[in-house]
């Protein structure tokens, strides 16, 4: 049906453009077939684009209904959250308002203990988000979800809390600053607010450290695609930089937060591979194991989680979390 109409179009246009000659029938068949192919190609591309749009639309709809855990959903925030929360996602066209919203806790200061995602306010939202998280995470992380339902601590909405202090790090939360300072789960205060995104016009300085810090800020501000692009950029640009292992680890954390466990696994492995003795290596190995577990590769996940112990006997904190994870993942 499509094809016939294409053929007709081709016939007509070609008849209009080419004066008829008695002796070049063969050439005209060639031209017609060529035109049909061009049009077929355009239709194929259009169909493909329509299909891609449909898929994107479906995904957008799905994320309206079920926001990913740990990723405060802008749509929900827009429609349900308090004005404070709403403004968080407004581009800084009104700096004065933003300044009011910012708590001044200085989340940009990596590792000062307040590096946490923004907190929507209001009890109704709390409940909704908890329920949604339960739906998604149930079965994957029973201990954590249970903990959260039984005793949701204030000020940690929008993200899963670790079952116990020191057992965290499995919920896509930024737990440790790049300088190695532990970001204590419980340090979060109810009034904490995420600082406002930097103005888009902020000058871009391209020293490796600046790039790293900018990406890390993007991560803290939950701008995951920015963080991902930035850390990838860092890894490509500075493959020999001392922080490259960390960059790959944070890249993994960004993917993890988006529940893109395949990409996360690859990034964690990359971190481990690039710097097996680095500061992020034990964490990377552990999170690689956990990512594989999310991907249904249980045997490999358990082997890897179990190996944190033996590979990094001195990484006390990570070891503890690995041991807890080993149990929780049912590695026996």
């Amino acid at each position: 049906m499509f094809k016939r109409s294409i053929f007709l179009i081709a016939m007509l246009t070609s008849a209009a453009l080419t004066p008829l000659r008695a002796d070049d029938l063969s050439n005209r068949v060639d031209q017609l077939q060529d035109q049909i192919r061009q049009l077929t190609g355009q239709i194929e591309l259009l169909n493909y684009q329509v299909k891609q749009l449909q898929i994107q639309r479906k995904q957008a709809l799905a994320s309206d209904v079920l926001p990913a855990p740990n990723v405060p959903n802008t749509q929900n925030a827009d429609s349900m959250a308090s004005p404070q929360t709403f403004k968080r996602f407004v581009k800084p066209t009104a700096p004065s308002q933003e300044a009011n919203d910012a708590s001044g806790q200085g989340v940009e200061e990596i590792g000062d203990g307040s590096a946490l995602p923004p907190q929507p306010a209001g009890p109704q939202i709390q409940q909704v988000q908890q329920a949604q998280q339960l739906q998604i995470n149930g079965g994957m992380n029973p201990a954590s979800t249970q903990q959260m339902v039984l005793a949701p601590p204030p000020g940690t909405l929008g993200m899963l809390k670790a079952a116990k202090p020191g057992d965290g790090g499995f919920q896509g939360k930024v737990l440790v600053g790049p300088d190695g300072t532990a970001v204590a789960d419980d340090a979060q205060q109810p009034g904490d607010q995420l600082a406002v995104a930097q103005p888009a016009s902020a000058p871009v300085v391209d020293t490796p450290d600046d790039l790293f810090q900018r990406n890390y800020q993007a991560l803290l501000q939950l701008r995951y695609p920015d963080a991902e692009a930035g850390f990838k950029d860092f890894i490509v640009k500075y493959p020999n930089h001392a922080m490259v292992g960390s960059a790959a680890y944070w890249l993994g954390e960004a993917y993890w937060a988006e529940q893109n466990f395949g990409a996360a696994a690859q990034a964690y492995q990359d971190s481990y591979h690039r710097d097996a003795k680095g500061r992020r290596a034990p964490d990377s190995l552990l999170k690689l194991g956990l990512s594989l577990s999310r991907l249904g590769q249980k045997d490999q996940a358990c082997t890897i989680i179990g190996s944190v112990d033996t590979e990094y006997p001195n990484a006390v904190d990570v070891k503890k979390r690995a041991q807890a994870a080993f149990k929780r993942e049912g590695c026996g």
């Binding site: 068949v29 060639d30 077939q33 060529d34 049909i36 192919r37 061009q38 077929t40 190609g41 355009q42 194929e44 591309l45 493909y48 991902e228 990838k232 890894i235 490509v236 790959a248 890249l251 993917y255 893109n260 466990f261 395949g262 990409a263 996360a264 696994a265 690859q266 990034a267 492995q269 990359d270 481990y272 591979h273 097996a276 690689l288 594989l292 991907l295 590769q297 045997d299 490999q300 082997t303 890897i304 190996s307 590979e311």
Partner: protein, 436 residues
């Protein structure tokens, strides 16, 4: 450590199927695994088998090293000397030599038979991981070595074996404007090359049958291009199908009962895909389009066919049912896509991609998603899969009057690109299944 090594390998498979997160401009930037240090001790030989024993240890080390997953240690670094196959190794000494795995072997020859036995240990845990012995006519000692290497590879990586395989390809000699192109076959590692045709015809795109007993190829003679089947054991060849039009780009079906190929259309403008049943000699037309449809390849279960077509104005990859139903374009990236080859595990299509004036080799999911370019450059073409779906071999042409095609392989992670040694220029490789 070996357990962790093996567990880490899986991530690449997982990550590949999940997405291409670390792909920067479609090029793989991650996925490398540090190769496992392995000590392959000189195999112990009985009188008269010393040469075989040394050769076998060398073949094993070469196979493992070429896979990219192993780093065989130099024998000079060995502290302990293994003098008996029954000896219990001093694991502390092997650990000191930085070996993670240890291979001991024994070769006994009697008459024209040879027996190879080996044992594989995990140095750190001192665990015996496996061992076996094989016997064959002594002229097949290289194949025995490949078998041993296959078992070691499988035990440690968990991947299916692929060393005991062959490559059929086109041997190229003579000046670039008058190349002599002959049918040729060799072991996967480039050894034992055999030339199988006289070079009077321009021989192209040879592919193995599933039994590895026959090869189908096309050849341009003085009047046309025709598809042939060559029997390796008898050296006989026959024309496939009695077609007045040119036939080319053949490939066997997974059950070996059919050959699929392109036939030039009656008006000489186009080419469509046909299937010939080798028993009934019945021909069936699969595509019927006013365009060039070629390079067909069955899915491993025989239910679908991937092929390339310019029906949309440029070469793109399509997938259809084996009966021609439901023809769907799957390649939508930036460039022209061609020569799709289904991976033996059914998960991917390997392809040639022309973009920005270059020719790359890539793999994608069967629905066209998750494209990964494994290598790019001036001219890379014609991928083929190792039977375990881990390695892609292809040919790379080099520039200039003195340039020519050579065979290369690359891991599907995009790492470990290796040239496959051939005496002459070589093109159009096709990998055999694992030999029986």
């Amino acid at each position: 450590m070996i357990k962790l090594f093996r567990a880490l390998l899986i991530f690449m498979v997982v990550a590949l199927s999940a997405n291409h997160a670390l792909a920067v401009n479609g090029t793989v930037t991650s996925g490398k695994i540090d190769p496992l240090p392995i000590a392959i001790t000189p195999f112990i030989a009985n009188a008269g088998s010393e040469n075989d024993a040394a050769a076998i240890s060398g073949v094993i080390a070469n196979d493992l090293a070429r896979s990219g997953y192993f780093s065989p240690l130099a024998p000079e670094s060995f502290i302990e000397k293994i003098t008996s196959f029954d000896q219990t190794p001093n694991f502390a000494s092997w650990s000191q030599a930085k070996a993670q795995a240890l291979v001991m072997g024994n070769v006994t020859g009697s008459g024209d038979k040879i027996t190879v036995a080996f044992k594989l240990y995990d140095v750190n845990t001192q665990a015996f991981l496996g061992g076996s012995s094989f016997t064959a006519p002594s002229k097949l000692s290289r194949r025995l070595a490949h078998k041993v290497a296959d078992l070691i590879y499988n035990k440690i990586t968990g991947f299916a074996p692929y060393f005991d395989t062959r490559i059929v390809y086109v041997d190229e000699t003579g000046p670039k404007n008058a190349r002599i192109k002959k049918l040729a076959m060799m072991d996967q590692d480039g050894f034992n090359p055999r030339i199988l045709s006289n070079g009077k015809e321009i021989l192209l795109t040879p592919r193995f049958s599933p039994t590895t007993q026959e090869i189908t190829y096309s050849a341009i003679g003085s009047d046309s291009s025709r598809v042939y089947i060559y029997n390796i054991d008898t050296g006989q060849k026959e024309i496939v199908g009695d077609f007045k039009n040119m036939s080319f780009a053949p490939r066997f079906s997974p059950d070996g009962q059919k050959v699929i190929m392109s036939l030039e259309s009656d008006d000489g403008r186009n080419a469509n895909i046909y299937e010939l049943d080798l028993r009934s000699r019945q021909t069936r037309q699969i595509t019927n389009e006013p365009s060039i449809n070629t390079a067909p390849c069955y899915s491993p279960d025989g239910s679908r066919i991937a092929f390339e077509s310019d029906r949309g104005g440029s070469q793109q990859i399509y997938v259809m049912g084996a009966d021609g139903s439901n023809q769907q374009r799957v390649s939508f990236g930036n460039g022209a896509y061609s020569t799709p080859v289904w991976s033996p595990d059914g998960k991917y299509l390997a392809f040639t991609k022309q973009s920005d004036g270059g020719f790359g080799i890539g793999i994608m999911n069967v629905d066209g998603s998750g494209e990964r370019i494994l290598t790019e450059g001036f001219h890379n073409e014609g991928p083929t899969w190792s039977p375990n779906s881990r390695v892609v071999m292809f040919f790379r042409d080099t520039r200039g009057e003195t340039g020519g095609a050579q065979l290369w392989s690359v891991d599907i992670s995009g790492y470990n690109e290796q040239q496959v040694p051939t005496a002459d220029f070589a093109s159009d490789p096709a990998w055999s299944p694992l030999l029986k």
